[in-house]
Subunit: 305 residues, 2 copies
Amino acid sequence: MDNLDKELLETIADLHGIPEGSFNIRKNGQLLARNSTADIEIVPKTDKDGIDIIVKAGVTNRSVHIPVLLTVGDFHDTVYNDFYIGEGADVTIVAGCGIHNDSACASEHDGIHTFYLSENSKVRYVEKHYASGNGEGKKVFDPVTYIFLKEGAEFVMESTQLGGVTYTDRKTVATVGKKARLVVKEKLLTDGEEVAKTSFRVLLKGRESSADIVSRSVAKGNSSQFFKSDMVGKNACFGHVECDGILLGGARIVSTPKIDAVSPEASLVHEAAVGKIAGEQLLKLMSLGLSEQEAEDMIIQGFLN
Amino acid sequence: MDNLDKELLETIADLHGIPEGSFNIRKNGQLLARNSTADIEIVPKTDKDGIDIIVKAGVTNRSVHIPVLLTVGDFHDTVYNDFYIGEGADVTIVAGCGIHNDSACASEHDGIHTFYLSENSKVRYVEKHYASGNGEGKKVFDPVTYIFLKEGAEFVMESTQLGGVTYTDRKTVATVGKKARLVVKEKLLTDGEEVAKTSFRVLLKGRESSADIVSRSVAKGNSSQFFKSDMVGKNACFGHVECDGILLGGARIVSTPKIDAVSPEASLVHEAAVGKIAGEQLLKLMSLGLSEQEAEDMIIQGFLN
C-alpha cells in the first residue's frame, strides 16, 4: 500500500493500515489483502468477482472491513458481495470505496451487495464513497444493496457521500419481515456538475415490521440530486421517510417519496423539506464574527452531522 | 326542477332553488336556467359545450353558481368552462356536480375548467362532487382544472367528494405568477369499491409565488385512493403539500408527492401521513359512551372538517 492507498483507506473506512479481524481489501479489481476468522469467514466467489461473508450464529461485538480502492482511470469494477448473517449475531460491516482518478477516462465502482439476516440478528452497515483526482475522468459509483430481514432482525445502514463523486445512482431494496427493523441514515454532498440519484424500495411485509429512512443532503454549485423512495406497507407496520435538502448556488434537488398503504393496518409517514439556508441562521453566526462562507460551512457541517 | 334536482342542488351547491346574481344550471347536457349580470357575464360557447364566465375588473363581494345535474344513465357529459377574472376582482365561484343514476349504465360528468386571473384578483372556487342512485351504473367524474395566476392573484380551491362516486380522476394544473398564491383544500371520502385519483401539477414561476395544498382523505371498505403531486419551484418561492389519509376496512391509499427545487431560492416542503385511526382516540370517545361506530364516525367528521 502506498500513501495514496492509505489516505483513501482512512477516508472511507477510518482505517490506519491493515485492520484486525476479518477483512478483504480490493484494489483496482485485484485482491490486496484478506483475512478470515472463525467467527466471520470470507470466501471468494468462483463464478464472478466478489466474496461471500459468512457471520456465524451468535457472533457479537465483531466487525468486518471490506474496503475497495480504485486508483486508475478507464476502469469499471463490478463486484458481487453476499452477506449471510447467522441467528442472533450482532456485527458491524464497513464497506467504503475510494476512487482516485487523475486520468482523462472514467473510473467506476459498482458494489452489488446482498444481505441475508437470520432471525434476531443485527448489522450496522457503514458505507462511505469518496473520490479525488485532478483528471477529466469521471468518478462513478452505482451501488445496489438488497436487504432481506427475517423475524426480529435489524439492519442499520449509514451511507455517506461527501465529495468528488461525478455521478452516482444508488439503489437500495429491502424486504422487512415480522418485527424486523430497517434504519437508513443517508448523507449526501454534491458540488460542481455532480449528479446523485438515490432510490429506496422498502417492502414492510411482516407484522410489526418497521423502517426509518432519513436522507440529509446538500447540493452546491450546479449539482443536482434526485431522491426517490417507495415504501409499501403490506401488514400492520410503521414506516417513516424523511428527506431534507439544502440548496446552494445553482443546484437542484428533486424529491419523490411514495408511500403505499396496501394494508389498512399500515401506518406510513413521509416528510421532506428542500430550500436554502435560512437567512437568520447565517446572520446569527455572522454576528458572532464568522464570514458568510464560514457561517455557511458551519451550518452545512451541523446539518450533515 | 323536480325534488331530486332540488336535493342534488342543495347537496352540491348549498342552493335552495334558483340563486341570486349570475348563475348557469345545466341538467343532463342541457341548459336549465341562466342569468347574466352586468358584473358577471355568462356567455355560451358556440364551438363546443360550455360557457365563458367573465368577471369585470374591480367586482367584489359577488358570487356565481354554475352547478351541473345528471339524473340519467348511459350519458357522458363533457363541458368546457373558461373563467376570465378582471383586475382586482374578488368573487366566489360555486361549481358542483351531482349525479343520480338509477340505471345499469354509466353516467359521467367531466368539467374542463380554465381560470385566468388578472393582476391582484381573487377567486374562491368551491366544487362539490356527489353521486347517488341504486343502479349498477357507474358514477364518474374526471374533472380537469387549469389555473393561471398573474401578479398578486390568489386562487383558493375547495374541492370535496364525500360519497357515492364510483370513479374519479381529477387533474389540477396551476401556473403561479409573481407574488401570486394558490391554496387548495381537498377533502375526499371513498367507500365500497370506489377508486379516486387526484393529481396536482404546480409551477411556482414568479418571484415570491406560493402554494399550499392540503389533501385530507378517508378510505373505507375496499376503496382505493391515489394522490400525486408535482410541485416545481422555478424562482424564490414557497410551496407546501400535505396529504393526510385515514384507512379503514380493506382500503388502500397511495401517496406520491414530488417536489422539484429547480431554483436554489425555492423552498419546498411536503408531508404525508397515512394510517388507521389511533386506538387511544377511539377508546377515549367510547369511554364517553359512544359505540365504536359512532366514535369512528365522529373522528372522520372531525378530520374532514
